[in-house]
Symmetry: D2
Subunit: 224 residues, 4 copies
């Protein structure tokens, strides 16, 4: 499954509503809405659920993290090859809940690219986005940590951080795609994020923790 821009990327985090059997159900909801609306929806489930979702759903899958390691003696770490073989087409890197050392971000990007994995590197500020752009990822997701999970969309609260990110990143590397995250809960938030120059939406609790996952996700997709 390949990506088509603009797209929505749903991060399942370690919510129980996105674990195991419920991860599969949510992936099937996403697949159905994607099919109905023609919009691209990707997911980032937990490592343990990637292969089962890959077997059961036609939907682009990202890992939530990779470790910047080579195959070898690394017990409990996430080998980039392992998520690829399980069915992922890409990975989040440096999520605010899993920040990496700068040197490890560079290594993780290099490792992922060598395997043909799409890299979505998360950033908390416009300057951090600019710094990451120097490392040539495929995509940068700008997410002010103070807005994550808060239900207040960055595109409303702080639109300048998106437009600044877009302009600073494009200055460094024009081929980087900008995603926008943090606090997105309705279709209007999606629309304004796209209008401000992002080409995708990264969100989590707004869908995963919603009482009506299918209804809210459909609303978001329709505004993409």
């Amino acid at each position: 499954m390949s990506l088509k821009k603009p797209f929505i990327l749903i991060n399942f985090k370690t919510y129980l509503e996105g674990t195991g059997r419920r991860a599969i159900e949510l992936s099937q909801i996403a697949e159905r809405i994607s099919s109905d609306t023609g919009k691209c929806i990707a997911i980032a489930p937990q490592f343990t659920d990637i292969s089962t979702i890959f077997d059961k759903c036609k939907i682009p899958i990202f890992a939530q993290h990779i470790d910047p390691i080579e195959a070898g003696a690394n017990t409990g770490k996430i080998l980039p090859e392992s998520i690829k073989e399980a069915g992922a087409i890409g990975t989040l890197i440096n999520h605010s809940e899993n920040r990496l050392k700068l040197s490890d971000i560079e290594l993780a990007i290099i490792r992922a690219k060598s395997l043909g994995l799409v890299t979505v590197v998360c950033a908390s500020t416009a300057n951090i986005s600019k710094a990451i752009a120097a490392l040539n990822p495929d995509m940068i997701a700008i997410e002010p940590p103070e807005l994550i999970g808060k239900g207040t969309a960055v595109s409303k609260t702080n639109p300048a951080i998106i437009t600044d990110t877009v302009s600073l990143v494009k200055e460094i590397n024009n081929s980087v795609t900008i995603l926008c995250g943090a606090g997105i809960t309705n279709g209007e938030d999606v629309k304004s994020a796209i209008d401000l120059g992002s080409e995708g939406i990264l969100l989590a609790s707004g869908v995963v923790k919603a009482d009506e996952q299918e209804i809210i996700l459909r609303e978001l997709a329709l505004q993409l």
Copy 2:
């Protein structure tokens, strides 16, 4: 699948020989030898491979690590529930390649126990084993890091570390099972580890990286 003591626990680490399709093949080898010999063989594959192995093999599966977290906003972390739902019956904790803070070892043990997961906590010295025993894990694996992957068995090089561990740990908590790791490559190593008081063997490269995985594992199992 439940454990029967004594047993062999094969840690696949992040070796390519134990990733994806090759993880399944190695699990099937272990299952076959276990069936042939009547000896218990368990495996600790990568997170991404747990559910597929669970579907295809009758063999006790451990995770290589869990994070001491509750369900929630923990992108890229290993939720204990996720490995259980994928099919693991237990988990390694504090492997020398993934050392935890002391307070996190306590939390990880508590979380795993609350889910009925078997805890195998790794230790590098006899005193560390004693310290871990105070936190009431199910099992402690004593592995001097300087011997890991070296092909020289701890049971030969430093038998006192095993007997010291057994006596110190039993003093604190008599119900803890001792596993012995590091450098085990042949049946004689297995036999002497058991003779010294351990009730299981933790090993990795000796099997996973072997040219003839099936031959070596069968030799080890026969000496159990």
Copy 3:
């Protein structure tokens, strides 16, 4: 300057009220009260202030942390020799704001002891205290993290954690001294901590952030 039990150990943390010139002033207050009351008061200032306090005050000085390293290429780390040569007689290890891996706690204790430095290892639960006792530190400070800086004394809120710690630790290693921390703000708290079996008090904001540092510290010392 040597320690005399029971004693008060004031952790300056990185409070501005305990940094630089104000660290020296607070140390002089402690020295004066110690001299007036005959009670032992020790301090744990920031690394940068150890040598100046050592020059100007007769008072036992602890570091707030050491890294479990040997002399060598460790830029920005805390070499145990460096705090000793600056004038410290001991060090905190594994404070709740600076938790260490279990294997590093063992190494830090070994390194400190080899230099004759007194080790005060912090613990958050009675079982953690028991675990640490297996590593043979000189002292264990039991500090439930949820009470740190809260102004509610552990000796009042959760006296059982102190008595449990004392009995579990003594079971393992009878020569370990127990300190009691978290939330101590007045003389009565000190008295009850000592009555419960601890031989010292570890505190920080209760003195360092007090409007009247000298008045509160004198009250605490008188109840020791």
Copy 4:
């Protein structure tokens, strides 16, 4: 003491030859050579030695690290204010022996700047240097980790990494000063580093571990 470009910055790391009394002696050597030659020599001693060196020597002092924290409850951490009050004019950040998360590099730079401290951020590759330039430090020290302490100068082995760093960084932020580190042991290495576009030299073992610290440092200074 202020900096004058070009300059040599000697990182004392945690070498015993640069700890305590021997840190003062080495600082006095540096001061004397600086005075004799008119060249600027700065030092980065351990935290515990900053204030004593500040009292005894007229020489620009850097810390080896700061934590990206505010004053408060951070036991064992390095408060930027603490190194300033001890006498440092600046700090290393993100040394290869003390790598930081990308978001912490940004915070550390912001905190240091707010106190008027000079920031020297270390980088291992030209692209990492470019990324750091986006965060607006005062200086970037390019040090390929594989050459550190090896006695083979980067300016000889891999001159392109210096010229690439200079051009990539200047593209982003023309006001950033480039230092060159790793493997510098003689005057010729200094000269070639300067010729390649760096405005300073960061070195450690080449001077600190030298049998004749004064002779080698004088040779380096004369080629500056």
